[in-house]
Symmetry: D3
Subunit: 313 residues, 6 copies
């Protein structure tokens, strides 16, 4: 397959892409044309269909489409002028090629993740984690495949697993270095902190906020989900349930960032920093990856409110 | 009974008060004495026991105590010098005399409150409100008696009922004047918005934050409580459940004020303003009531970040 | 008349519109053309004159123009390609068709408004309101016709009357429910709070900030105006004048919103909330009205800093 | 006269001071005593009357009192133990000795101030300034004597004149260096910018906010005053009146600092900086003067949010 | 030479300009064209090369290019359609014509600047200033020629000299009017405050941030430079060195503006205001100069967060 | 030795303490007494000398004093009533007993610290670190002994070493987990980030800001120090020097926290988070340690702007 990231000006391509968007527009002269967003796992591209002839079959947003196009450069970006187009059949393409994906092996990551449950001494938290990540097959499957975000950081297949695992490694280091930490509580908070995102964001290939996600948000969703399972574990200490909920509730660190409580436990505070550091490093390196490797300075970054630079000398 | 608000310098009092606090201290000369905070429904007073003689029986914070004291003025405040003290027997006092209370009749308010349920056309929300406020006797009893706050506004017996009822009247006016509002949703949001406070704050006579209240807060508690009952109503529309939860979640109006979502529905936005206006007017009038009626200006108020004035000319 | 909101792609129109703007531009090929903004009470539309032939007579911004045009869709919006154009004669059109207008009857609203003056017990405030809204015919006429804003909320013919009346109804409710309020002062503050806008904003059909409006603003203008009339009422209590001025001065609620004083009176605080709630509900419903009724979510709204949703389930 | 600033521990004093405050208190042992704040132009001092014998005559806050006292040091401060006290007769004291005063000659400053009017070329502004500062004898007298603040900077007799004159000198320099400035407008804005303080703050010897000052503030008061005189000058250009009002209105520079408009004219912006620099330098030097000249560092200053240091090496 | 500011629609120009930028683009029809930014000291202009014929020689950003072009108006701006183009030879143009420059004479300004050194009584600061501005010829030359900014204020040849000199005049006035100021320290701080910009910003004709400038900034660079010279002056008092460094370090006034220390000395505070007032007046007058002199209001200015107006009536 | 933390009410003590402060005061009755702050490594205590008899020898702040005192409880705190006092001789006491100290072994920590230098592949950074921490014996000695702060976190003997070492361990983990990090740069930035504190804060036993510390701060001081050594290493790459300086400069993360640059390198951003997490965890656990182990909730903490809780259930 010819990935969008590898296409050059002047190329002729005949391949299948995901139609991430489709709009019907008119030229100034009044002629109707289509503007189409092509997507594969390496990114997206802007395509036009100037001539709506017989070679252009019906299609809609979300379809996998086979296109025959030539590539031109327009105002510094690639543009795909599509001459022929039809919807592809299942089997002609592998969905995995059309969503960006973690660079790590999902099963390796999952196994390492499960290993952290064994380190949790508290029997209630251990049991709760086991129920979610081991016994609840549907949950585990979703957790392994979901994105951690609509954009910004870990916005790819396996993203929430990669992010949570990165955080668990940091959590282990923190629990080793600072014995004041309760390891079980810190791990449990880490494991569950973003689980609400499984319902806040819709699934691949097109990630968006769900109705529930917009109305009540992943923090709330996660806590409700947790509560449901906790209520089914006879004898689960109510105080522990509140401490764990507080971990989830406060992990954004500040009210202004959407946490209705500031961290009141040392593990909750640590969780906030662990989340922050894994997310920010991933964001920063994603920004560096997305720019010309020849440039030291890669331009002003709204997320960091500064210009950023490659570290080399 | 002789209320603390009515006591004057030079009085001799022999009466029963709630011991809201008790500390053991020493004078500069090294002599041990007690500092005691007396409470009744009109306020609190600072008492001292300088001489720990036989007339001073054992007592602790939370006891109703019968004291024999003389009243002096010390640095502008009343001070009660206690000569004799014993713990009072149940029956010697009426608990109602020891907590500040709404000036309105609880049952009248409750009946008016119930009347609003009848106006709710949506059968699901009507059913939900009925289950809480009518059928759940324990909940209804707590709701009628509880405070709406530890301090600030409606911090008295019946406070949450008075505050919620005041808001319902406003909600009715708003729903009448602006037909775009969904009356059932606005009423339901209003009725349930602060219900989490029944568990966030401990009961009279000594109101304080509970462990659960500090860890997860009344917004979260209220939504969990609501969810429990909703889950028992077969067929309750999930979307409506999310809309109602959003009403509770967003009623503080801003992330920085502890709402993890800003109001996204017109009823949610209205609820935020209705809550604000009833609370602020009560706060303002309570501040005016607590000051010398002869003064036009009653001094800088931290809550309003300004000096406030009685409106007269 | 064919309103702009009712026009569809492919239509041919021959009708009179207000020219809200006119620019002379060039195509990339160097040919001169006109870009014209057409306006009627249902909105505005983007028109082009590609061919400056004899059928295109002289015209300027602010003219009512009769156009002969065909309607195309360009990048998702309607575009009017004008073939012929002349300035319309007075009598050919009714100005009322060209400005957005309140949906309510102006005289009904005005009569209801006047009724509130009768409820004002304070003779000085009653007299002052009567002088402005009843006896000063020119003022009353302007007040009935003016907009409450350049954009945002109540930005239409009769807008300031509709907004002030909506607030008076709320003020009446507040004064009824909270007896601590001085009804006369609250009504007077409400009636006069935005009167400075009559001079801050220019008149229909094209609303813009006046020189005076930009330099000193409607709060200042309103107070000066008020002072002029107050000074002509012998015996008007100076303290009352200051209280009333304070109501106007502080109605934005915060220094950062342009009020040089925060509300120091309970009526001033209430006025701020009453203004806010009427304006915000109108803004919210206007935003909902302006979007596709089939969508639940209507997109991110800068004014509310969130995505907003229709309340239905 | 023996000034408070010159008194040492162990002194016996018999002199007249202003009673700036008087409170009736009780010792822990229940004995009544008076706490009195003495004031003269060099500062204030804390006095006590432990023994309310026949030598202590009736007196109240605001009286000039003759006291017979011994000076002790209590917790690092001087304390005056008063043995005898009577109210002084007019003629026994000179009020000038009891308020802090500018170190410059009032008439010299006033004459220099008047000289700036001559430099104003604009006949309307020149005429307006002449009417206030030259022809309105009562205004001129008040302006020469008033304080510029209740505390902070230039809080002394002649303070507003000293401050305004210091600003005029800066304004002259600015107008000379930057020809873009309109000298007349800059001078007029400077002369009038704080005139509202003559009514915002009560007079010496005890400065406090007036009712009018608290309700509408010196910016508003100043503009109303200005308007009254402007309206009596036939032909005064309305646009110029608005520009001048804007200068006053915007001189705090930011909405959050109480200016309902930000500076929109280059002279208005300059006025804001000129006001700021004169006020801040005076504040800084007053803070340095009030501390031990042997210390380099004089401690954290809330007004500057930092520790400040004497500049020497 | 025909300056860009003097060109009108319809002109034919044959002249040399600096190529400030060059991009290769495509029309919608797929034809390659160049977009070129022309620069001279009066501003910049947008040029296009639609036809890449033999008359268009090779050139790159930074070249001085001789162009043969016709001027059209496109969407309200001038556009230069280039027909022929070649790189100009040294000698054909004078670089001074291609960068905006101070309107004052560089040498006159420099001589006046040097005169301020003579007024510095402190021998160490006098010696330090002399070493930089008189004896270090290379430094002096750069200081006379450099810009004070990439944009905003004094962004032209000689800009840092003009700005620093304007500040010195103000500093002299301040030192005269407020004797508490140490003149030598105030002058020295003023002279050196922006010297780091000589290395923070690259040289004319194309000003941009240097690597060092972005990484450590002009405050840091200036202090390092200063330290190098101070270390070579035997006996320079270390305390004085710290005071001077503090002046540079704190001259932005607030941490949030990039000063790691707030002003702790009265001269440091004055320096901050002097810098601010000279920069803001220049910015304001530059904005006025850049707009149509017929308009009173010149539109919303992001830098001042308000619309600004010419002061005339 | 009898540590202050182990003293109980009613004890009689005869031991040597550091005099951390000494004030001369007077009782209300006019009698002179001394208020003395005693210090040892477990904390400080409030002592009084009521009777200035022959047993009380001369002493001053900073002396090690031998006292004979009885312990009473006054308003909830211990108070030491001193009867006899003399200055102790060197040899009578061990200074180590009088300053709070790290609980870890200084030499163990130092050796582990040195081990990190070996991991630095970049020869320039390795050489620079070696020069400071290994070859510069005086620097190394100071670094091992100094505090990391005047208060807040790691405010004890060995504090800067413990804090920097804790950060290095985290840095190693980060460099291992995120290969994008340049290990040498991250380690170097970590090692040097707070070195300026060795001059910003005075030495034990009484830590305070130095003149240099207040005027230019530890960030500036550290960079100057670094520059001095870098300049002596022939061939040290200037770009690398700037990158390293940027690490130090930006490690507070935000301008408002005193960093004149925001982190522009991924290692600089990581350094900021590493500093934050080690400091915050230490602060949190210090706060927990300082409170009654029986309480779950330990009260509102200004540093975290919330009440904090021990994590147990």
């Amino acid at each position: 397959m010819r990935y969008l990231a590898d296409v050059s000006e002047g190329d002729q391509i005949v391949d299948i892409y995901l139609c991430a968007d489709r709009q019907v527009l008119k030229t100034r002269a009044g002629k109707t044309y289509y503007s189409v967003r092509l997507q594969d796992k390496t990114g997206t591209g802007d395509a036009k269909i100037w001539d709506l002839n017989d070679g252009i079959h019906d299609f809609k947003k979300g379809d996998y489409i086979k296109v025959d196009a030539s590539v031109v450069s327009f105002q510094g970006s690639m543009q795909y002028n599509i001459r022929r187009l039809r919807v592809a059949q299942e089997g002609e393409y592998d969905p995995v090629d059309y969503v960006p994906s973690t660079e790590f092996d999902i099963n390796d990551m999952y196994n390492e993740f499960i290993g952290f449950i064994d380190e949790m001494d508290d029997k209630w938290l251990n049991q709760l984690a086991t129920q979610f990540f081991v016994e609840d097959k549907e949950f585990a499957k979703a957790f392994k495949a979901h994105s951690a975000a609509k954009s910004v950081h870990h916005a790819f297949y396996g993203g929430i697993l990669e992010h949570t695992l990165g955080m668990l490694r940091l959590a282990k280091f923190i629990a080793d270095q600072y014995p004041v930490m309760n390891r079980s509580l810190l791990y449990a908070g880490t494991m569950f902190h973003d689980m609400g995102k499984l319902k806040e964001l819709s699934d691949f290939p097109i990630i968006d906020y769900t109705d529930e996600g917009q109305l009540i948000g992943h923090i709330m969703i996660g806590i409700e989900w947790l509560t449901t399972k906790i209520n089914k574990i006879p004898g689960f200490p109510p105080v522990l349930a509140n401490l764990l909920k507080h971990m989830i509730l406060s992990h954004h660190g500040e009210l202004a960032y959407g946490s209705p409580k500031k961290p009141e436990l040392i593990e909750a505070m640590a969780l906030h920093y662990i989340d922050n550091i894994d997310a920010k490093i991933k964001t920063f390196s994603t920004l560096l990856d997305g720019t010309d490797p020849q440039d030291d300075w890669v331009g002003y970054q709204r997320l960091f409110e500064t210009n950023i630079r490659r570290s080399r000398w």
